[in-house]
Symmetry: C2
Subunit: 246 residues, 2 copies
DNA sequence: TTTATTGGTGTCCTATTTACACGTTCGGCG
DNA sequence: CGCCGAACGTGTAAATAGGACACCAATAAA
């Protein structure tokens, strides 16, 4: 069976970000190493990862991760960087872990890092026995292997992306959203406060933001106008997009 | 000898760009496959690449490429993307080539792509038997494996980088340069024409551009002021750098 | 009916962008 | 040695974008 053979020195790791209008969160898997008597040697968390089948593209292998966890297969996913230092598996806990899994603790595994974005609302996680939970990105503690570094790079990447490719912001929002929610995406991810009126001057120039014939309901204040994101309009209006030097 | 063992399903490929004030060029290696009688079966070009030693970081493996070719080891080098489709080695010529090298034509090789930047002036290539030459980036023809795709991604990457991290422009210039040369970097790489006076209004705001007590010599026109790039000043003045939404 | 809460709007000031033309200084050449 | 060709270096006016800032409106809950 070709399709069950894996390239065992290559993996993909997926930094799955979820946004809940309060904070940016990341999906982590609990990892617990037990000794022969079932006592805990250590416990920590890892990013979600996958092996890569020998006849599979890296993108496909990465895609399986959020797909298995959410049942959705059309989510935003992008490769951002590859990590391959021989040291990435050298910490004592990781060495113990690899041995206990029957994996060669000397063999360097190169991992290709992906970022996935989810609007947490509406998403129900499928566990399949693993203990997978959301953690605020600034409260993850010590992660396995070099996963703290991978997470840090993913954050840098997605912040940068948000700034110069605004379409990614909408991946973190439900299909219908308010301008305040959009502003919150920027505020939370970039860690800044923005002025409401100035922000709206910008959104007014985004022709791909479609005001709907619909307002928020069930809120104890003036209900906000709902908008949707027109991806096609975005793509075409990006063509003559200018930045910095051009 | 640990240091001679290689991870043989992982490689690094380096898109080495060189700038000569006329065009952007890329370093390519001639590849010729001969039959048993020494007749040419095909000939084409490949990017410069390397295997990765098992105890070596990816960055180090990539660094060896331009270092071997130029003798310099402080050049700009950055990982930009990893390519791992099983199809990348599937084209007939590539299959023949792999067989003739004694490599497994079925085994997918994941390659980590790097970009290197060189000011072509002053650089003397060290050939060591291989036929390595500069090609204008838009005249490379059909390259081996997926190297056309890798080159295209590298170009996209470096254009984007030039726009929002102006320091990379100086990697393509000699230590002393004129403002017109700097403008030419932007014009050639981004493929646009820029207005001289407006460009200079921008450079006037770049505090890290140091005017020297020196002018061009030997030119048949009014000699231009020479400048140098102060990297430290750049780093510190970037700290409070704003872009788009912040 | 009152209150708490968030939604939605405009102005002034400053900084940045864009379009645009001409005198200057050098080497080369006749 | 004077003229020519070629790139250098400079400023202004108009339009656009950015940043600071405050108040009324609409809803649900009490």
């Amino acid at each position: 069976m070709v399709s069950t053979m894996v390239s065992n020195n290559i993996s993909v790791d997926c930094v799955i970000f979820g946004f809940d209008f309060e904070r940016l969160n990341v999906l982590l898997v609990d990892r617990t190493l037990l000794d022969a008597d079932g006592r805990v040697i250590f416990t920590d968390r890892t990013l979600t990862g996958n092996h890569v089948f020998v006849d599979e593209t890296l993108d496909a292998a990465a895609h399986r991760i959020p797909a298995d966890l959410t049942g959705l297969d059309n989510i935003y996913l992008e490769q951002f960087r590859t990590f391959g230092s021989p040291d990435r598996i050298r910490r004592p806990n990781d060495q113990l872990w690899l041995r206990s899994c029957g994996r060669d603790p000397e063999r360097r595994v190169v991992t290709v890092g992906y970022v996935a974005l989810l609007a947490r609302r509406d998403i129900r996680l499928i566990w399949k026995g693993r203990n997978v939970k959301w953690y605020p990105v600034d409260e993850v503690g010590d992660l396995a292997f070099d996963h703290n570094q991978i997470l840090a790079e993913a954050l840098k990447y997605i912040r940068n992306k948000l700034i110069n490719e605004p379409s990614v912001g909408f991946e973190l929002l439900p299909p219908k959203f308010t301008l305040t929610q959009l502003q919150t995406v920027y505020e939370v991810i970039l860690g800044v406060r923005l002025d409401k009126r100035n922000f709206r001057k910008k959104t007014a120039r985004m022709s791909y933001l479609i005001p709907l014939d619909e307002k928020q309901t069930g809120v104890a204040h003036k209900p906000a106008q709902l908008y949707s994101f027109d991806k096609e309009l975005y793509e075409t209006s990006r063509k003559d997009f200018n930045s910095f030097f051009i």
